[in-house]
């Protein structure tokens, strides 16, 4: 089960086409879309392949492991994020290829660096949805 968090966790608007992805998060699983025609693994989840426009998409379970491609410690934010500053925004390059924008949580800010190994964590939203975030890998 995704664990509770005090970070803002709205469930992004979902269409039926990417419901598989959100349902996966609710079960602590990162499901990624792969094109059955050209084999591209892509982000963000959508019902067609952005490389070749094919609409036959296969969902598979990713490892949830990746490395920090870039990050920023964000000090100022409007709205409900302001109270949580400083917080970390990052692009995480997944082992399966795609780069995903999310937060790095439960991290010592001084140890953050490009290339740091991270793993997926799943946060519960107030309305029962879930959001994908990352935390430094142990060891």
């Amino acid at each position: 089960m995704p664990r509770p968090t005090d970070l803002p966790t709205p469930t992004p608007r979902s269409s039926s086409d990417d419901q598989v992805f959100w349902d996966g998060l609710a079960e602590d699983r990162l499901l990624l879309p792969r094109c059955t025609s050209c084999g591209s693994v892509f982000w963000h989840p959508r019902p067609f392949c952005p490389e070749c426009s094919c609409t036959r998409i296969d969902w598979f379970a990713a490892t949830g492991n990746g490395t920090i491609y870039s990050y920023s410690v964000t000090h100022k934010a409007p709205g409900n994020w302001g109270a949580h500053a400083p917080y970390v925004i990052a692009y995480v390059e997944l082992d399966e290829g795609p780069r995903v924008m999310s937060n790095i949580v439960d991290a010592d800010l001084d140890m953050l660096e490009v290339g740091l190994e991270v793993q997926a964590v799943f946060h519960a939203g107030a309305d029962g949805g879930a959001v994908l975030r990352f935390t430094p890998s142990p060891g």
């Binding site: 892509f42 963000h44 490389e51 870039s70 920023s72 410690v73 100022k76 934010a77 925004i89």
Partner: protein
């Protein structure tokens, strides 16, 4: 087909205007452009108005305020490229032979809409993880530092250059010279970016009068500047965000403009580029092909982008120094190009400039690389 010429320019002071709205500002800029062209405003046959957050029929309000109600008017929203897109649409109407005299105005009263950082559309997944425009550009800055070895001090030289140029521009939002230490000691916004690395929330408007060959010859021949290219592209689908340190969208839009104008990047004498953040100027001039990839920070350090340098970048002060009233920005860039090319830029004049380039890029939607990008080339 006729060429298109900019024959009159006008611009309000950029900054905070608590006692005006976007209609007042747009009207002021429009009337100034008419006066600059030295024409009877009743010669204007059509109008185009760029803005982002000013609401329905902003352009019609501007026209009504200056006694031009009734003209065909097109409102244009294209994020930070709205004003530049209005100029492009206006130029098409002239080029097609439909009109001989048109006006493009860009206006924005942003201080009444926003405080602090702009954020992605709430429906985008990026909004759910607290992304702000500064944090997205901060990640690009950190990645660029990682790949090309740019130092934080080198990056600080860009706001220093642009704000020192703005200090020479009586219409700029900021008029105070700053140092590298000022940048490094300003408060952190999204690490590694600090307050001086970010363009301000600005009110302002700008306007340009465009004419065909025929009208230019009849009404205002001597101070006209030719609009040699005005190109637009939208971002293509990003399979993964591959473009953190290079901008294919900027490159493609520039290639269209160079081809249309019959020039290459080596012919550009100076440019105004979309420096919404310090790192953005680096990505833009390299995307435009004006500097090699990874080479701009060292070039800035050598003074090549200064007013007296090999290729001055953002002589007006840019978005960082002059300010960034979204709809007004792209039109104000063209105002600066025209003033420089006419030799009317006062103590920030670039000597002998013949070819100027303006670049805007704005908007973010999930899954695409940038939303709207424009490049305009003006020649004397």
């Amino acid at each position: 087909m006729t060429d298109v010429h900019v024959v009159g320019v006008g611009m309000t002071r950029f900054g905070k205007h608590p006692d005006a709205d976007s209609t007042d500002l747009g009207a002021q800029a429009l009337l100034e452009a008419v006066a600059d062209a030295g024409i009877d405003p009743r010669l204007i046959e059509a109008a185009y108005c760029g803005h982002v957050f000013q609401g329905m029929v902003t352009g019609q309000r501007v026209l009504a305020q200056v006694g031009l109600a009734g003209l065909p008017l097109t409102n244009v929203e294209n994020a930070c490229s709205s004003g530049a897109t209005a100029i492009r649409e206006a130029s098409f109407a002239v080029r097609a032979g439909e009109y001989d005299v048109v006006v493009a105005v860009g206006t924005e009263h942003l201080t009444s809409q926003f405080r602090g950082a702009l954020t992605p559309d709430p429906s985008d997944p990026e909004a759910a993880v607290g992304a702000t425009m500064p944090s997205v550009y901060a990640m690009r800055a950190r990645r660029y530092m990682h790949e090309f070895g740019m130092t934080r001090e080198q990056l600080a030289l860009i706001p220093v250059k642009n704000k020192n140029n703005a200090a020479l521009n009586p219409l700029a939002h900021f008029r105070t010279r700053i140092t590298v230490e000022d940048v490094l000691e300003s408060r952190p916004v999204a690490d590694p970016l600090r307050l001086h690395d970010c363009s301000p929330v600005t009110d302002g408007a700008a306007a340009v009068i465009l004419m065909s060959d025929k009208a230019k010859k009849r009404f205002c021949d001597t101070r006209a500047v030719r609009l040699a290219a005005s190109t637009l592209r939208s971002g293509s689908v990003d399979v993964e965000p591959t473009s953190m340190t290079f901008e294919p969208l900027t490159r493609l839009t520039a290639q269209d403009a160079y081809e249309r104008a019959g020039i290459g990047p080596e012919d550009v004498d100076f440019c105004e580029v979309h420096d919404c953040f310090s790192i953005a100027e680096v990505l833009r001039v390299e995307g435009l092909g004006l500097f090699g990839q990874g080479e701009y920070p060292a070039a800035v350090q050598r003074g090549e982008a200064d007013l007296g340098g090999r290729l001055p970048v953002n002589p007006s002060g840019g978005l960082l120094g002059k300010g960034h009233p979204l709809g007004g920005t792209g039109v104000a860039q063209v105002v600066e190009l025209v003033r420089q090319l006419r030799g009317e830029a006062g103590n920030r004049q670039i000597e002998g400039a013949k070819v100027g380039l303006a670049h805007c890029r704005g908007g973010k939607a999930v899954g695409i690389e940038g939303a709207a990008c424009t490049v305009q080339v003006l020649t004397r």
